[in-house]
């Protein structure tokens, strides 16, 4: 309960900040912004062409989204492990 009282308003604000743009721009594509770099850089220097295509191991957007999920999952697992471990340790001390 203490946690809810302490952080409740933060969580509400976070949700508000992240959902506001979705309400504001219901039909925006929220573009994967890196792709649009071309237009901005080339707006300044029309002759510029990317000089390196990169060593993308995977091209499929589906596979890439899996890796994004994997990255988040790895991060969240470590955090979850730490939080659980710390809570358990604390309870052991109390007992």
């Amino acid at each position: 309960m203490k946690t809810v009282r302490k952080y409740g308003w933060m969580v509400v604000l976070i949700v508000a900040l992240l959902s506001l743009p979705l309400v504001m721009f219901q039909h925006a594509e929220f573009a994967g912004t890196d792709d649009k770099a071309v237009s901005m850089v080339q707006g300044i220097d029309k002759s510029y062409k990317p000089w390196f295509e990169g060593v993308k191991l995977f091209d499929s957007p589906e596979i890439i989204s899996t890796f994004f999920a994997l990255q988040a999952a790895i991060g969240a697992s470590v955090l979850g492990y730490y939080i659980g471990y710390s809570r358990g340790k604390q309870q052991n001390k109390k007992a």
Binding site: M24, I44, W51, G54, F68
Partner: protein, 247 residues
């Protein structure tokens, strides 16, 4: 009700007009810095990475339990930088997650963790790039983390409330990361009259506005995680000289 939605939509449209090319944020894409700039940023990074590897070794030797916190800092960065979030410009960007680690371990250690995350993203996610890795490590792993760490140290000395300090340090570090990105692009692509400033304003008006609300979100999340660490690993924080000041 309908009226207010219309107002908000109008305001949104106005912002979009003010920021006509509001669609580029996040890291610099592969091939989008000329070779000499790629090289320059790589060279800038080298001393920090060497310093970082040394400082990780020292910190782990301090106290074996610090390893778990190192994992937390890395995991936090992994999680936060994987989430592309919508922003008020109608485009999306992501948080950095490096500010929290910078407070715990200092900027040098985080430059190494930043390198790991950015390498993962460049190779597996087609996000960022190998050629621009140097520039991206510099903005996210070095400049942003140095600012976070500096603000944390300064405000702790000034005895500002701990949560406020953590919030400002992480939020401003995240925002600053993208200011540096804007600068890196502006330096490589100055305006038609050769003015870096004109170009910088163009890039920053995009990066800054897109990142602003996300920085606030990052600040809040960092405060929650930091407070948890403080109440469960106080000893380790003292060993790292993070919390030897009164609450």
């Amino acid at each position: 009700m309908n009226h207010s939605i219309r107002k908000i939509t109008l305001a949104g449209l106005l912002i979009m007009l003010l920021v006509p090319q509001s669609l580029y944020a996040m890291h610099i894409a592969e091939g989008f810095l000329p070779p000499q700039w790629c090289l320059l940023w790589y060279i800038v990074d080298i001393p920090f990475i060497i310093w970082g590897i040394r400082s990780i070794k020292e910190q782990v030797a301090l106290n074996s339990k610090i390893k778990i916190l190192l994992g937390v800092a890395g995991g936090f960065t992994f999680l936060l930088s994987a989430l592309k979030l919508p922003s008020v410009t109608g485009s999306c960007s992501h948080m950095t997650g490096t500010g929290l680690g910078a407070i715990l371990f200092g900027p040098a250690t985080m430059s190494v963790l930043g390198l790991v995350v950015l390498l993962f993203q460049a190779l597996l996610l087609a996000h960022g790039g190998i050629t621009t890795l140097g520039a991206n490590v510099c903005s996210m792993g070095i400049c942003g983390t140095f600012l976070s760490w500096g603000i944390y140290r300064l405000f702790t000395k000034l005895k500002v409330n701990r949560s406020v300090t953590v919030f400002l340090a992480t939020a401003l570090g995240s925002l600053f990361t993208y200011c540096v990105t804007a600068f890196q692009l502006a330096a490589a692509f100055p305006g038609t009259n050769g003015s870096i400033l004109v170009s910088f304003i163009k890039f920053i008006s995009v990066f800054g506005i897109t990142q602003l609300p996300l920085s606030v979100v990052e600040g809040f999340i960092s405060v929650m995680v930091f407070n948890f660490i403080q109440s469960h690993n106080a000893e380790e924080l003292t060993a790292l000289h993070v919390s030897n000041q009164p609450e």
